[in-house]
């Protein structure tokens, strides 16, 4: 089912005329004639969940914004940096006005009068397209003071980032938007209470906001009928890696994952098979390419139940010609580079995971290192201000869990290839930290001191 991708290739769609011809900004008129609470209720009824990664119900998030006349803000998160994800890039480039309409309606529903689109710095062309579209919309009176003669005033600024994955995290994004280093903040207070410039702030992903006019057109209840009960609507899925036809495909949530990977994206190259796949960007735990996982319905809850997550909807396929050790090292290096350094478990955990994986790759590691690595991942999860550390810990932990034999076989093969001699016997490195062997405990009586 195509909603966001309908006619997306028409070059006219990026212009105000082409967009208006297809019924563009009609929903804005409709929203302005409604009470903001009714617009909010439509969103609640649709059950649409955030498309950025966390999958939090969008209507609920909107309803957390306090009522009142204080300065409120709406921020569109277009800092799409999750490895494997490229849906927002295509949507912004080809249909910028749908995003603008979604933002203006969303701002009306929560009573915000200042909004920002934080687009990643690398998307220069897309930022230009967006800036041009905002100018067009402003000239036509859809953005600015007293939109279309109503009481609603909304200012929209396109803010370019400068290359930092962490700025996709909502509180880090706010810090970056305030002109600081992009460090995440302690929560609570949540941005809905105290966000940008200390005002209540709603932050939503590009695809989520683009669904706002769609929901208003269909009606929330009607929209909720698409997809499954808890994962409503359509989702743009970015498929990449070892597939024959990589790209963005819009699917109805709940279709079998096999259909996306094999039918839409063409499956792995001839003669190869799927070894593993990331179901939702590099932060999602990997799943093996077994039938039981490929048959999973592609929706939020089914993937969560299988021990992974839908995340940003980016499927990265790894075929059997790829070493899982290489993938693990690439993943860990990415998070080491992007860790902002504020919280110790993430800053140190990502760094040491890379070092341990490098030892695995050169054959210097022992199978015991895999246990230590797995325990490091466990100690990162839940111990930081944001989930960047968890985002490394989950895929690395899952790779060790599902592909332990391959890691062990790789260590043995690399040891042999690098001429490192006989295997180092297993020692408990957690107890033996120094360069000297521990004293033999045989002639020590541990109960002696007690008596």
């Amino acid at each position: 089912m195509e909603i966001l991708y309908r006619d997306l290739d028409d070059p006219e769609l990026a212009t105000l005329d082409g967009y208006s011809k297809r019924g563009g900004y009609e929903m804005l008129r409709k929203a302005l004639s409604m009470d903001p609470n009714d617009v909010l209720n439509e969103m609640l009824e649709s059950g649409v969940r955030g498309r950025g990664g966390a999958g939090f119900a969008m209507g609920k998030k909107m309803s957390f914004i306090p009522r009142g006349t204080m300065d409120k803000y709406l921020v569109c998160n277009a800092d799409e940096s999750e490895p494997g994800t490229f849906k927002d890039r295509e949507l912004i480039q080809k249909n910028p006005h749908l995003l603008i309409e979604g933002i203006v309606i969303g701002a009306y529903a929560i009573g915000a009068n200042k909004s920002f689109i934080y687009i990643r710095g690398e998307y220069q062309h897309q930022a230009d397209v967006l800036a041009r579209a905002v100018e067009e919309a402003r000239a036509a009176g859809y953005v600015g003071e007293r939109v279309l003669g109503s009481d609603h005033t909304i200012d929209l600024v396109v803010h370019r980032g400068a290359g930092a994955y962490i700025c996709g995290e909502e509180t880090a994004l706010l810090d970056s938007l305030e002109g600081k280093r992009g460090n995440p903040r302690l929560k609570p207070p949540f941005p809905a209470v105290q966000g940008l410039y200390k005002g209540p702030t709603l932050i939503n992903n590009v695809e989520t906001l683009m669904n706002v006019p769609v929901i208003l057109r269909m009606g929330g209840a009607e929209y909720a009928r698409i997809g499954t009960e808890t994962s409503t609507g359509t989702k743009v899925v970015s498929v990449s890696g070892c597939v024959q036809r990589p790209g963005n495909y819009e699917i109805t949530l709940g279709v079998p994952s096999r259909e996306i990977i094999m039918d839409l994206a063409g499956g792995p190259p001839e003669g190869r098979s799927i070894k593993a796949w990331f179901p939702g960007g590099s932060s999602a735990p990997v799943l093996p390419g077994d039938d039981e996982y490929l048959d999973l319905p592609y929706d939020f809850d089914a993937l969560a139940k299988a021990g992974s997550m839908l995340g940003s909807g980016a499927i990265i396929v790894i075929d059997d010609s790829i070493s899982i050790v290489d993938v693990a090292l690439k993943t860990a290096k990415f998070y080491r580079h992007e860790s902002c350094g504020k919280c110790t478990p993430c800053r140190e955990g990502t760094n040491w995971t890379v070092k341990m994986l490098e030892r695995v790759q050169t054959g210097e590691a022992t199978p015991m290192d895999l246990d230590i690595m797995a325990s490091v991942q466990e100690q990162i999860i839940g111990n930081c201000l944001c989930v960047l550390g968890d985002a490394m810990a989950m895929p690395i932990g899952s790779m060790i869990k599902h592909f332990r034999e391959e890691f062990e076989a790789h260590i043995e093969a690399a040891r042999e290839a690098n001429g490192l001699g006989a295997a180092i016997p297993q020692v408990n490195r957690a107890r033996q930290a120094g360069p000297y062997p521990m004293l033999d405990p045989a002639d020590v009586d541990p109960t002696a001191a007690v008596a």
Binding site: T85, F86, G121, G241, N248, D326, K330
Partner: protein, 210 residues
């Protein structure tokens, strides 16, 4: 396997990390907000930064846009560039330096004018991006005009392996494309017109008949 400290690769200043412990000159006072009377700022730079400042409730929000502007002007975030931005924004150079060092797109060391970012993240490296990066490095050679950098996911895994050449996304790249990129940039032409992302159709259309 004990670590031999003499074998650990170190930078010239003795550290294993580039620059984090660059000695601060403690005999100098900390730099203050530059005086407009003694800090010449080109008129077009000042106008551009002031236009950005007017967009935000707080001028500090214009820090990143201002750094983009001065980096475009000077080629890198040089002390002069940062001083000019600080002068217009009425912030200290230290504040802006702290911001500039956080983000990958700002360089506080001299670099070539033409940015070539080669994506070497998961999806691209599954399809041979590391070899493309090496090829790109040797294609650019020691030309000081080029700044070739391996980059984290640029958000274009559909055209993996890919690169961003002065902001233009091109891919999927093959080894021989690296030489063409260098030639196209040097000649001031459009980069790889047949491989530009902006001309690519949506996946369903692109692969039709393939």
């Amino acid at each position: 396997m004990a670590i031999d400290p003499t074998q650990v690769p170190r930078f010239a200043h003795g550290s294993r990390v580039p620059g984090w412990d660059d000695a601060a000159d403690l005999t100098k006072d900390p730099a203050v907000v530059p005086d407009p009377a003694t800090t010449p700022v080109p008129q077009h730079v000042r106008v551009a930064i002031e236009a950005e400042m007017a967009q935000y409730p707080d001028v500090r929000s214009a820090a990143i846009p201002a750094l983009h502007i001065v980096q475009d002007e000077h080629g890198w975030c040089s002390p002069t560039a940062i001083e000019q931005a600080a002068c217009v924004l009425r912030l200290t150079p230290a504040y802006l330096t702290a911001v500039a060092t956080f983000y990958d797109m700002f360089s506080t060391t001299p670099k070539g004018r033409h940015d070539v970012y080669v994506c070497t993240n998961i999806s691209c490296s599954l399809l041979g991006a590391d070899a493309i990066y090496q090829e790109m490095l040797s294609a650019a050679g020691d030309d000081p005009e080029f700044h070739v950098q391996s980059f984290e996911c640029l958000g274009a895994c559909d055209i993996a392996p890919m690169a961003s050449v002065n902001g233009e996304y091109v891919g999927p790249l093959e080894a021989e494309d690296c030489g063409r990129i260098v030639d196209d940039v040097k000649a001031g032409r459009e980069v790889l017109p047949d491989k530009q992302l902006r001309k690519r159709k949506v996946a369903v259309e692109h692969w039709k008949g393939a």
